[in-house]
Symmetry: C2
Subunit: 200 residues, 2 copies
């Protein structure tokens, strides 16, 4: 069954769109999609099994104009992407607040800190002050390896950069200070296992 | 200084728009704006003073088409409002996960349960299972009185409705089972004070 928008355009669910694009082997600059998909599936797995309640926040959008056609849904006609003031994912696990950002890099040997924004760092600092559990999930796209790096460690590298040091975290440092998350089938990125070892 | 969008339209920050509209004494059907504004200011107050880190989640939007004009920001040309799968507000306070929904009613004597969606109830149940702190903030618009009702209590009323009982929570029940939040200047709706008494 195909649903159609008021303008006659067919509605294709997001997942199907992606599958379609992948089959056609199109190249994308935004490889982040894949990590996001994997994390969404992982979080769904956690929610279904009542392991944790963690969601990705919606993309923040500044809405400028909306049409209200009769007998059909409101259509946003003009809107702009806003910069997020927090990290992308948060929720609850065993009563504790969980908060993280997820990033991919095509680099082989380092993670460039320009991938993280100043306001996200500020948010992480604030979360840590409130004793929340806060971290970065990081994928090296080429080797498909995923690491969890605690916000406390990320802040150290951020401050090193601010003080004139290197503008990235080396792969070696991530391996030493972070925790490798093995890729699985269900859940795909079992980061709660790492959280369990570190905080519970 | 006036900023302009690529289409030449002036950019008016949200707050100014509201102030402008208020001066002109226009009537709105969506009085919910006011409760949201007050809560946003309250949360800002909490964040600035490092009392708690709580944010409103962005409105979820399904983006259908985006223009990428040269040398200016991407413009969303077609998008639709999606139903939220969670409550609107969440964050962390003293390590604990905080999660709530905020609603207003013009009714004098009861709060209609149709203001809450089934998926929000499911989300609240899931949060409680993870030992998160979860509640409803409720404003009676006409008397400008605000109450905090714990999710556990809300679920009881929801189940009563599901079992064929009344479709609303009476004002009397809210006064008995909920906690009145006094309105202040800074912060406007000091709900953390109630949370402190109940959980800490």
């Amino acid at each position: 069954m195909i649903f159609k928008y008021p303008n006659g355009k067919a509605f294709i669910p997001k997942n199907e769109k992606l599958a379609y694009k992948k089959e056609n082997n199109v190249q994308y600059s935004n490889r982040g999609m894949t990590l996001e998909e994997d994390l969404n599936e992982t979080n769904e797995y956690y929610r279904e099994r009542q392991i944790a309640v963690i969601h990705k926040k919606p993309t923040p959008v500044q809405i400028v104009s909306v049409d209200y056609p009769k007998r059909s849904a409101a259509v946003i006609k003009e809107a702009y992407f806003k910069q997020a003031s927090t990290t992308d994912y948060n929720g609850v696990y065993k009563g504790k607040y969980i908060d993280f950002e997820a990033k991919e890099t095509r680099n082989h040997t380092s993670f460039p800190l320009q991938n993280i924004h100043e306001h996200q760092i500020k948010h992480m600092e604030a979360v840590l002050k409130q004793k929340g559990i806060c971290f970065l999930i990081l994928r090296f796209t080429n080797s498909d390896e995923i690491f969890l790096l605690e916000a406390e460690k990320l802040l150290q590298f951020w401050n090193r950069k601010k003080n004139g040091g290197r503008k990235s975290i080396s792969r070696q440092e991530i391996e030493t200070d972070g925790y490798k998350i093995p890729l699985g089938y269900q859940p795909r990125i079992d980061y709660i296992k790492v959280i369990d070892q570190l905080y519970f």
